[in-house]
């Protein structure tokens, strides 16, 4: 390969006390003949670094192996030019600090790690940024307050914006709101919505192109180069955009599903949405007969916080009701307002407004549940409330009953639409009677989703953002609320999560920021979060592809499409560089320049497996580099010791595990394989959404293979580890080693 490798081993931080560094260096020299092989007592110090830098500057080496502390520390010191392949070997946290010093086993561990690091450095190739023809235009879908805000804010940062609204006018749901509840100090006075000014500003902004009465016919391509076909009556036309903010807002929960709360029993039972139209213009009257309304009763959580309807809290209804109550009292201070609630949810400074409204002498708050709403012609509506604070059931008469219905996201069910289209295609292909019947059933079940797509992405994995929870394309992460399963596409506002307009305006800012960031990162050829800045991307050796479609199905980000034959069509700018496709591929044709099946397989091969007579076991441990690996680092910092038979290989995501590695390891006589990834399931912690889960699934298949090979399936174990389980990880290793000892050495040893 002609690579000029420099291997630099640090003996500082008690590495030199724990292992024979001289011997380590000589092994590297003898076995790999690198261009330079040096040891230093303080490699990260000025003198140590100058040794490396001089060798680099004078062209003696062009690739560097640093054997010392964990790659998680001293990153500044050991970061060289991106063209310099650099590999860190963790001799400190994972060897010197966590194993018995000066023992044969600890020495062998260090030697293996160095071998693995050298082999990896030899195989890795330098990275160069690849980027071409990136559009920095931001497409904003939805012209409500969220979309308008996103458009204005992105435009104010000097980005071109295309704003698309399906209705003839901008404004969305906020347009029907007369006044807005207080969001500014002293938090007690109603505010103007400010919407007309915003609409005027966005329609006249030189950087914003606004399309109303417009739908997205299709969105082709990838971040940096989405070709979006729009239609507004006439011929479709195409806009190129780099990133998308999806701000399609919400709709009120269908009140016809709430007959138990009286909806439909009288024209005087209305939703909060309908009630907004009744207030603010003259005295409040009953819709049924125009008689003045002397009392109004609000039923909170009408549909929300109810597992039969909306399991979530809609977040806006308490403040909306308080505002409507306030509004009523501004024109009719005598009107009695009853609010039947379970919890009044007015967080933060909103509490001040609650305090104000509840102090009005004609406002009556009643904690309780509505048992029945009874209407009689021409009379007041009777509302039975049970479980009140007074401990008794009471009946309240009211001229108008307002249901504080919650909000439902205006999102499309990506997976359902994808499954529908797949089934439709199967029906069309008509390959067999049973297949067709089965597909027809799916088509019938999913028919309601026909035509509901919003973004109309041409992705193999469906036309919209995947839904995460209760119909919302939200993020699954507390600390990364804009994390998206479709790179460059960010949901904002009430379509992302239940929120009020003030929150939605802020959310629009954040989503616009992420959209801008995504086009800037694409321009630099870099990945976005969580591998922000990564220049690597997978390449596909398609001559050997068998069209098995595993990569297209398993990519968590929908990066890979298919042609008619099923050959993968990779879209690099959608990619997040997790390597799940690489792990999926049975033909091993997917590789990164610095991360591949071959590189890891070579590292496994570099491990010296002792003969059976030596009675030394070897276990391979694949660890997620994001969580499990740092946990083991902390164990090292705590000087917790664990079995020295284990050899750790960090992975970008456990989902990038190719099962061939396990077969390789076991056939080489390695006695067991452990895999540690992030928690998966509903509340997954895997940074690549499905990676850890996919790895678990793949491993189930491996176990079957093992049984066929007469190997105990217990030799392979995959587990879930959190980053804070630094006490548990060494115990897990030791327990596994005990089990392997019980099973005895791998019978394939020596073959």
């Amino acid at each position: 390969m002609g690579r000029k490798l420099g291997v630099y081993t640090c003996s500082g931080c008690s590495i030199g006390d724990a292992i024979d560094v001289e011997r380590l260096v000589s092994i590297a020299e003898e076995e790999y003949r690198p261009a330079i092989c040096k040891a230093h007592p303080f490699l990260c110090g000025e003198d140590g670094l100058s040794v490396i830098k001089t060798d680099l500057a004078e062209g003696r080496v062009d690739s560097v192996v640093i054997a010392g502390c964990s790659p998680r520390v001293k990153t500044d010191a050991f970061t060289f030019d991106p063209q310099i392949v650099t590999e860190r070997v963790n001799l400190r946290e994972h060897v010197a600090w966590s194993h018995e010093p000066r023992t044969e086993d600890t020495q062998m561990l260090a030697e293996d790690y160095l071998r693995m690091g050298i082999v990896k450095a030899q195989k890795m190739e330098p990275l160069e940024p690849v980027s071409d023809g990136i559009s920095k235009t931001i497409l904003v879908v939805g012209g409500g307050v969220t979309g308008i805000s996103a458009a204005l804010e992105a435009a104010d940062a000097d980005y071109d914006v295309v704003l698309v609204e399906k209705e003839p006018q901008l404004g969305g749901s906020l347009a029907t709101v007369k006044k807005y509840f207080p969001t500014h100090p002293p938090y007690t006075d109603l505010e103007e919505t400010g919407l007309p000014e915003k609409i005027a500003k966005v329609t006249s902004h030189p950087k914003v192109k606004v399309y109303t009465s417009t739908r997205i016919v299709k969105t082709e391509g990838q971040p940096g180069m989405f070709d979006v076909t729009l239609q507004n009556g006439g011929d479709p036309f195409v806009h190129r955009a780099g990133a998308i903010v999806m701000a399609t807002g919400w709709k009120p929960y269908d009140a016809s599903k709430l007959p138990h709360l009286g909806y439909g029993c009288s024209p005087n039972v209305v939703t909060n949405d309908q009630f907004e139209a009744l207030i603010g213009s003259g005295p409040l009257v009953r819709p049924s007969d125009g008689k003045p309304a002397e009392s109004v009763l609000f039923i909170q959580c009408a549909g929300s916080r109810d597992n039969n309807h909306l399991p979530y809290c809609s977040s806006v209804c308490c403040m909306a009701t308080l505002k409507q109550s306030d509004f009523i009292h501004q024109t009719s201070p005598e009107t009695k307002v009853y609010i039947v609630y379970r919890d009044i949810i007015t967080p933060g400074q909103y509490e001040r407004y609650f305090a104000k409204v509840q102090n009005h002498p004609a406002t009556f708050l009643m904690k309780g549940d509505v048992a029945a709403v009874r209407a009689q012609d021409g009379r007041q509506i009777q509302v039975d409330v049970k479980g009140t604070l007074l401990g008794e059931d009471i009946t309240v008469p009211a001229d108008i009953v307002v249901l504080a219905t919650g909000l439902v996201p205006n999102a499309a069910d990506n997976d359902a639409i994808r499954d529908l289209r797949d089934a439709q295609a199967k029906v069309q292909r008509n390959e067999s009677e049973t297949q067709r019947t089965e597909a027809e059933k799916i088509v019938n079940r999913l028919q309601p989703h026909e035509g509901t797509a919003i973004l109309n992405l041409n992705y193999r994995q469906g036309p919209d953002l995947p839904i995460l929870r209760d119909g919302f394309p939200n993020s699954n992460f507390v600390c990364f609320p804009y994390e998206t399963l479709r790179t460059g596409i960010y949901a904002a506002g009430a379509v992302r999560a239940p929120m009020d307009s003030a929150q939605a305006e802020e959310d629009a800012l954040g989503a616009a920021m992420k959209a801008i960031q995504s086009v800037e990162m694409a321009t630099a050829g870099k990945a976005v979060h969580p591998r922000a800045g990564d220049l690597s991307y997978p390449s596909f050796l398609l001559q050997r592809c068998t069209q098995c479609k595993r990569c297209t199905v398993e990519c968590p980000f929908g990066s890979i499409d298919e042609d008619e034959k099923g050959t993968p069509k990779f879209n690099p700018y959608r990619c997040r560089r997790c390597g799940v496709c690489m792990g999926a591929c049975p033909e091993r044709i997917i590789s990164f320049k610095n991360y591949s099946v071959d590189i890891i397989a070579s590292m496994i091969k570099a491990i010296e497996v002792p003969d059976e007579e030596e009675e030394k076991l070897r276990v391979l441990l694949f660890m997620c580099e994001n969580d499990a690996y740092p946990a083991l680092d902390v164990a090292g910092m705590n000087h917790v010791h664990y079995d020295a038979s284990v050899r750790v290989i960090p992975l970008r995501c456990l989902g990038s595990t190719n099962i061939v590695w396990i077969a390789d390891a076991l056939s080489r006589g390695i006695d067991g394989v452990m895999l540690m990834g992030c928690k998966y399931g509903e509340d997954y912690q895997c940074h690549f959404a499905k990676g850890s889960e996919i790895a678990h699934r793949r491993l189930e298949n491996v176990k079957e293979t093992l049984q066929r090979l007469q190997l105990e399936p217990e030799r392979v174990e995959v587990s879930q580890v959190s980053i804070d389980e630094f006490e548990k990880v060494p115990e897990m290793i030791n327990t596994f080693m005990d089990r392997i000892r019980e099973l005895g050495p791998n019978p394939y040893k020596g073959f």
Binding site: C13, F42, C44, G45, R72, V73, T75, E153, A154, A157, D158, P186, N307, P311, C313, S315, D343, I345, T346, P347, G348, Q349, E351, A355, G387, L389, R469, V478, C479, P481, Y482, A497, P498, M499, A508, G510, A512, M513, K514, I516, Q517, E520, T523, A524, K526, H529, A532, G533, N626, D627, P630, N638, C678, K679, D683, Q685, S722, I723, D724, E727
Partner: protein
């Protein structure tokens, strides 16, 4: 990073005050869009209050998981400058063109630190561990915690023994300099993000609830550290008076919050936090009886799902009622809680082995030499050109909302940088 839109940035940067989750998010989001950012954090490491949590609600996942990713983003991004033990001393100029003077207090440990820990091992002096809300001690030479970023020891000179230089002798890498002095640095920045966060309300001010008088009355932030594996009790929640496992625990919601005499606003997070804390207790002691005294359970949005899930635990009791007083049985150190149960209108008196006060959020906006409007409670109010508050400096909010807010503040700041680049 080559960046078209900001290529003519002229080196204009953002100044982010505060290195907690809000500040580091704002800096990262702006930097990954091509704008330089300087984080100034007054403590020796980043992460603020959030990194001291045991878990986040509602996922019950460890904060260090996200911080690990964020720290890696910082390490990989040359556009971010991190200054710890740093405070804003003076700022002049206006939006797009500020000059900030930052005061850097000495760390007494240089970049040569390898985090080997020899200094702490040799150090004879101790100091209260602020990371654990003083529930434990560290050496005067200490690493704030194992995941601390920057990974660099620090010396608390106030805690040092007189004329001691044990750490200097122990450090093989010459990383300790006890002669370090205060330094000042000037930065030219286009915008400022104010992300100074929050502090827990001083619960001893709520005299009827017994915090500070009775050892077994603790606050929510203390419980958080007790529950953490890297905390003072290695993850065991024990009664401070006798180290015993609590059999019955009462949570007093709105301890200070929604109270005209203390914090007249709602602190937003305490309901979900106490529900989360009940899961800590039940994970350790499945049979412990937990009672939450609340006025309203405020779990907006998807947090409602979390509430519904936690509330199914048969050992959790929710009582709508305001706690009037907490007294102590001096013999057992058990606590007698008197509450007015709103649903029945009756007065309820019950004994608990431990009481947790859900103390509220107080904004940390005092003493910052920055002209920024504040509301009647001290929360920063946006409106000053060039200065953008985010997170709990602006309103009480949970981590997710803070990150959302900080990401938005990054865009506002970015706009200033772009504009100043155009005009500069």
């Amino acid at each position: 990073m080559d960046n078209g839109n900001l290529a003519s940035n002229n080196g204009r940067s953002l100044l982010v005050i505060g290195g907690g989750i809000a500040g580091l998010t704002a800096a990262l989001e702006a930097a990954e869009a091509g704008c330089s950012a300087i984080i100034i954090e007054k403590s020796p490491s980043l992460g603020g209050r959030a990194i001291a949590f045991n878990q986040y609600f509602p996922k019950l996942c460890p904060p260090t998981c996200g911080f690990e990713i964020n720290f890696r983003r910082i390490k990989n991004n040359p556009r971010i400058t991190v200054l710890t033990q740093a405070e804003l001393e003076e700022i002049t100029g206006s939006a797009g063109d500020y000059e900030a003077t930052v005061k850097l207090s000495p760390r007494f440990v240089t970049n040569s630190c390898t985090v080997c820990g020899a200094c702490a091992e040799a150090c004879p002096a101790e100091r209260p561990d602020g990371f654990n809300y003083n529930l434990s001690k560290t050496k005067a030479a200490y690493l704030p915690h194992k995941m601390a970023f920057p990974a660099q020891y620090v010396i608390d000179r106030n805690a040092c023994k007189k004329d001691c230089s044990a750490c200097v002798d122990a450090c093989r890498y010459g990383a300790i300099n006890l002669e370090q002095q205060v330094e000042r640095k000037k930065f030219h920045v286009a915008a400022v993000v104010l992300a100074t966060g929050w502090a827990p309300y001083d619960a001893s001010k709520i005299t009827n609830l017994g915090f500070g008088c009775y050892p077994n009355v603790v606050t929510n932030v203390l419980l958080e550290r007790m529950a953490a594996v890297n905390g003072p009790t290695a993850g065991k929640i024990l009664r401070p008076s006798d180290g015993k496992e609590p059999a019955t625990v009462a949570f007093v919601q709105c301890a200070g919050s929604r109270d005209e005499n203390h914090l007249p606003y709602c602190s937003s997070v305490c309901c979900s936090a106490s529900l989360k804390h009940s899961t800590y207790i039940h994970n350790l002691y499945p049979d412990a009886q937990v009672t939450i005294f609340y006025i309203d359970t405020r779990t907006p949005g998807f947090l409602q799902d979390f509430y519904a899930k936690v509330a199914t635990n048969g050992h959790l009791k929710m009582i709508k009622g305001k706690v009037g007083k907490v007294e102590e049985d001096p013999e057992t150190h058990d606590l007698i809680v008197t509450a007015e149960e709103v649903l029945t209108g009756t007065k309820l008196t019950q004994k608990f082995s431990m009481v947790v006060l859900a103390a509220g959020i107080v904004p940390q906006t005092d003493g910052i030499p920055l002209k920024v409007a504040r509301d009647q409670f001290g929360f920063a109010v946006n409106g000053t050109a060039g200065i953008f508050a985010a997170g709990c400096a602006k309103r009480p909010e949970e981590v997710s909302a803070t990150v959302r807010d900080a990401t938005g503040a990054a865009l506002k700041a970015l706009q200033c940088a772009v504009r100043s680049a155009h005009h500069g």
